[in-house]
């Protein structure tokens, strides 16, 4: 029971991180119907930017680690947002009306570019960061086994919840969110009604990238090691989360992320840690077989 609880805590933390990345996939897919393959790399860029910003703030500026983290958070969100904007502008915008495969290939190319850009500029070696946030408290104790909830995990969960709540508010209540939903339903009609569709799509990329950047920051702190290759697997898993929850649906992305995180943590806890990625993919396949529109998605009706 204690062991189970510990795995659930770990899983929920991981799930929050996946959920943040999944939002970017689900929004972009919802609005222009493409898999933004480079999104995982934006998360990786976020992890590197966070590490560099944190080190720069503490080493060069002499700030303490709390201030350093705040600076890292702001810098990461800003820079990944800019990257999201630039990627859309350079690699996707001109391909809006191109054959369906063209943006996907362009996205795969962009993902190769970003991975190798980071490898060339920062080297291929794994980058370690010693733990910054220490401590936590013990929830339960059974014999020698302790159920720990660290401050870092609480911080990650709170920040995830706050971001998701804020983001849901933006989408449901603000004019920007209304324009975004309208474009998602029918881009041409939205344009006729005076919505700057290009701008809405750009904003979607910017918001998604900023959220992925925060996820990158969290992973840097949580695992303490990053390299230029982390974006690929995290990207696939987050996409799996988006599909699991029903692509195009925001609560779906969050729910999907949570489920994938839980499955991964419980699987590594009870079965084998080597096959944890396989578990996540099997779930994706099962969901698509039995409920292709995902848990919270609307069924996709094809009209002739």
């Amino acid at each position: 029971m204690e062991y189970f609880l510990q795995q659930v805590i770990n899983g929920v933390t991981l799930g929050g991180i996946y959920g943040l990345i999944a939002i970017g996939y689900t929004m972009v897919y919802g609005i222009i119907g493409m898999i933004n393959f480079a999104h995982g790399e934006v998360y990786m860029l976020g992890a590197f930017t966070a590490l560099i910003a944190f080190l720069a703030a503490t080493l060069l500026g002499g700030a303490d680690s709390a201030l350093g983290l705040a600076i890292a958070l702001v810098a990461t969100m800003g820079f990944t947002a800019l990257w999201g904007w630039a990627i859309e502008r350079v690699a996707y915008r001109r391909l809006r009306k191109a054959p369906r495969l063209a943006p996907l290939i362009s996205a795969i190319g962009m993902s190769v570019v970003l991975q190798n850009f980071v490898q060339v500029t920062q080297g291929a070696r794994v980058k370690p960061l010693p733990p910054v946030v220490h401590g936590g408290f013990t929830l339960m104790q059974a014999g020698t086994f302790k159920v720990d909830l660290s401050w870092l995990q609480i911080g990650i969960l709170l920040l995830t919840l706050a971001l998701m709540a804020g983001f849901t508010w933006v989408i449901t209540k603000t004019p920007l969110g209304r324009a975004q939903r309208a474009t998602q339903q029918d881009a041409k009609m939205a344009a006729l009604l005076g919505i700057d569709v290009d701008r809405v799509i750009s904003t979607t990329f910017v918001i998604g990238a900023a959220l992925a950047g925060v996820a990158g920051l969290m992973v840097t702190l949580y695992y303490g090691v990053i390299d230029f290759y982390i974006g690929f697997l995290a990207g696939i898993k987050a996409f799996t989360a988006a599909v699991l929850g029903g692509i195009g649906s925001l609560p779906g992305a969050m729910l999907g992320g949570l489920l994938i995180g839980l499955i991964e943590a419980l699987w590594s806890g009870y079965f084998s840690i080597e096959y944890k990625d396989i578990a996540a993919f099997s779930v994706l396949i099962l969901v698509l077989l039995f409920r292709p529109s995902g848990l919270l998605g609307r069924p996709d009706v094809e009209k002739v």
């Binding site: 930017t49 820079f79 063209a102 795969i108 190319g109 190769v112 920062q122």
Partner: protein, 386 residues
Amino acid sequence: MLARLKSALLAGLAAALLGLPLLGFRLTDSATGLSLALRPWWVAAAFGVVMAGRFVMDGLRLPDIQFQAPHDIRRQAGLGLTLFAALLPLLPFAGRNVVDMATMVLIYVMLGWGLNIVVGLAGLLDLGFVAFYAVGAYSYALFAQYFHLSFWICLPLAGMLAALFGLVLGFPVLRLRGDYLAIVTLGFGEMIRQVLLNWQSLTGGPRGLSGIPRPTLFGVTFTPEARVIFLYYVILGLALMVNLLALRLRRLPIGRAWEALREDEIACRSLGLNPTLLKLSAFATGAMCAGLAGSFFATRQGFISPESFTFMESAVILAIVVLGGMGSQIGIVLAAVLLVGLPEWFREFQQYRMLAFGIVMVLIMLWRPSGLLSARAPSIRLGPAP
């Protein structure tokens, strides 16, 4: 002119800002853990390069020529290329390295032609093609290791095994459409790689399998020099076989059904074609080609490990098919030379090679979204083309 300068300046500024954290700082290992080194010149260089690039690109109008060559010219070009390929090892400039590189390119041509049956003809987006390549490679290596079977017996076995994998993997997922199918095939590709990595007792895990026997010809073994040329002709023969298969299939009822499926699945179904069966057969045919190429790869390298079967390989093969202009056999050859041959040439610049590869992939897509040679129209249609 002023507008051009302004736009170039803006692009340069954006690049400098984008690169600020990653170009401006370098993470270095030091005695006390990670440290940072400043390198402002890299940011300045990014600013300069992007500004100049934008300025030139704005002035440059890339010609939008349609390479729609008439049928008989395509045919002649195909014949010429085949002849050139057949004579290549005899030409004076073709040393061992050139033939070796040509062998590598031909493996990708063969994979491209195989994938083209799935993506170009049947319109099924497969991002996990490398899984079948891996199945072919590992099945030859394992058959040779455990049962001491020769390459020529294992080759068809590997092809059949890969096709079987295609059927088994394809069966549950082929109800899915478009992007979902793509993502599931990607998942399968990764799953196979993970199994190869973790099933240490059979596959050797990350260390891979080595000492894979080299092919012989009716019992004749080759010296290393002669073997390079022999292997080249083997892969040339295999690739041409796949080419012939694709060209012939296109004219058979099943090929036409595939093309119809690609154009409109609902119409296909209302005309009584069974989409599941069609998709499965396309999937299995493509997988078989990949399996053949895989077992050739294993015998050529003599060593295989899961490293050779990453998602990058699938992406490269798909890029070859799409850049070539789906459905065009010659386009695939051109794209394979461009994406595999040229980077092999620049092996010294290992690090920058993949960076350039990605940039080329994006640029070609921006310039010609439907491929270098434009996409192929259906082989047969009623009435004039719209």
